[in-house]
Amino acid sequence: MATDTYLNAGRRAVIEEMQRDRAVWALGEDLGRGGVFGQYRDLQGMFGADRIADTPISEACIMGAAVGAAMTGTRPIVEMRFSDFALCAIDELVNQAAKARFMFGGQMRVPMVVREPIGMWRSSAAQHSQSLESWYTHIPGLVVVAPATPADNLGLLKSAIRNDDPVVYLEHKNLWGLEGELPDGEHLVPLGKADIARHGDAVTIVTWSGMRHACLRAAEALATAGIEAEVIDLRTLWPWDRETVFNSVRRTGRLLVVQEAVSVSGFGAEIAASVAEALHHELKAPIRRLGAPRIPVAYAPALEDRARVGDAAIIDAVRGLVAPCPAN
């Protein structure tokens, strides 16, 4: 076990997979200088400019070229820099990468990983802060992954690179510096398996990505008041781990979904609706969702904070859920 950052965990995953499989390569802007956040630091020196490829600022072509390169036997890692910029390549991802296998009758697959960091960090405003994971979970053909810890970033990115279908891999920008223990040796985290980050029996909190940490902080605060919350980090959003979530809600009878994204039409709605359909009669309280209001993320901290789900909101929501129902 060594302690390292979320960023370095992703870097280690790329190194290990590129060493393991010559077909793996990465392409994106500025990768030769380490990439915009340093996730590819020194990798061009290790693997050469062919396999850590600098590209023009051509998001559509980065994504589209990866589709073509995946069809011809390579396994590209696409670096989109910010998930906001991946919107310049949405045809290439949604109409091409995600559809090709099905549309062409299963003649080939498109093994590619699209790394596109999401989320608010500091004063990055409306075009560098979004969490658009629900767009991708809506698209048949895509796997959607959102790691929250260094160990998961290592193990999930490695699994994503080995997956034979396109994976949208959403690291959270505010987590780059987060430290945690990284297992020695080969560490693979299976796609589609949630992590029960904290056990509890009073309420189930389902979350992913950066909000995992806010939920854990809130759960610790609630524990001091005797409320034990179970915190489930989905890790993979498609396919999401229904079994783990359902089993937990069956025990607690209460569900809170916490997401950083805009709440309206967010992925939390899918979790809430699925649980309501399947477990309505086992619920002790109405399901609650927490997410951002439907506003673009602002620049000034006082405004930016209006789009944040804070620890206090999570604590309040849990208290509301576990409060005895008013007698009618």
């Binding site: 589209g64 070229a65 073509g68 009758g105």
Partner: protein, 331 residues
């Protein structure tokens, strides 16, 4: 066609047969659509066969091709099975894509045909990336990417061509210019001197040819591909042709004068090659027989496709992706 007397009769006899087969395939498909057998839209390339034939007869079977919504000719020319193609148009089992794609998504990876595309210009970055992948793997194959004149006004055209030059990729870009972007004349919506000038501005050699003269398309393609195989990077070929039918088979194309279409019918690329072959000594009977055989082949294929089963409905759930249940919460 000054050199008609020196024409390689064997080679161009085969090209002539291919052009007839493309024409006959599409005429059979149009007839079948009138009977309700072709389920979705089809975009015929009648009058444009010299581009498909002249380009693809210079590709080796291991080379790759990416095409457009108007891609039946390209696909046949790359060697796909016309029966599987017709089944695909009819939405039947045994179609090139098992009935999941239809005309606009025909692909046959077995013959290096990496897909038609329903999104104008989307094949350009994919072709560029296919060439990138080949180059990374040290392959000697090349990629041909055919797109319409309308596609040069989309961003991926710039991104793809720039990329192909930056990485010196083995890709032949072919602008199949039939004058129209759906119902709009492309020249009215295009600034500057067009595809070749745009390519040249990026340092990509570009050649303009009469796209209804298959001998010219063939010669220009051969030179371009020699350069590409020699490692000189991408080339763009701009082929000027004309779309005889409407944008789709059911578009009456009333936005253009009838005499313009009539004049273009007189410039038929198949007839022009036939004349050249006749001048080179091929018997009129042999030429007529080639045409007749193509019609018979495609008529029989359409009949056979009509007698083919529908796909197993459960195939709707296969090949979505390995992970997750595609039926999740749908019913």
């Amino acid at each position: 066609m000054d050199n008609a007397h020196n024409l390689d009769r064997k080679r161009f006899g085969a090209v002539f047969a291919l052009m007839h087969r493309i024409r006959a395939f599409e005429e059979a498909a149009i007839a079948a659509q009138k009977e309700g057998l072709v389920l979705g839209a089809i975009h015929p390339s009648i009058g444009q066969e010299a581009v498909a034939a002249g380009v693809c007869c210079n590709l080796q079977s291991a080379d790759l091709l990416l095409s457009t919504h108007r891609g039946h000719g390209h696909t046949l020319a790359k060697g796909a099975d016309p029966l599987a193609m017709m089944r695909e148009l009819f939405g039947r089992a045994g179609g090139t894509c098992g009935g999941k794609g239809g005309s606009m998504h025909i692909a046959d990876f077995g013959v290096g045909m990496l897909g038609a595309n329903g999104v104008v210009g989307a094949n350009i970055p994919i072709a560029t990336g296919a060439a990138h992948g080949l180059k990374l793997q040290g392959s000697k194959q090349i990629v041909a990417c055919i797109f319409g004149d309308g596609a040069i006004n989309r961003g991926p055209f710039l991104e793809g061509l720039n990329w192909a030059r930056v990485f010196d990729l083995p890709v032949l870009f072919v602008c199949e210019d039939n004058g129209f972007s759906a119902t709009t004349r492309t020249r009215d919506m295009t600034a500057g001197a067009g595809a070749a000038a745009r390519a040249q501005s990026l340092g990509i050699p570009a050649v303009e040819v009469d796209g209804n003269d298959v001998l010219a398309v063939d010669a220009a393609t051969r030179t371009a591909i020699d350069d590409i195989r020699a490692g000189k990077g991408p080339v763009l070929l701009h082929c000027r042709t004309y779309r005889i039918t409407g944008h789709t088979a059911v578009d009456p194309a009333l936005y253009r004068p009838a005499d313009e279409v009539e004049a273009q019918r007189g410039n038929c690329p198949i007839a022009r090659l036939g004349a050249a072959l006749a001048m080179a000594g091929m018997e009129p009977d042999a030429l007529a027989a080639t045409a007749q055989q193509a019609v018979e082949e495609m008529t029989a294929i359409a009949a056979k496709a009509r007698d083919t089963d529908w796909p197993d409905p459960m195939a709707a759930f296969s090949d979505v992706q390995d992970m997750g249940d595609p039926r999740e919460r749908a019913f």
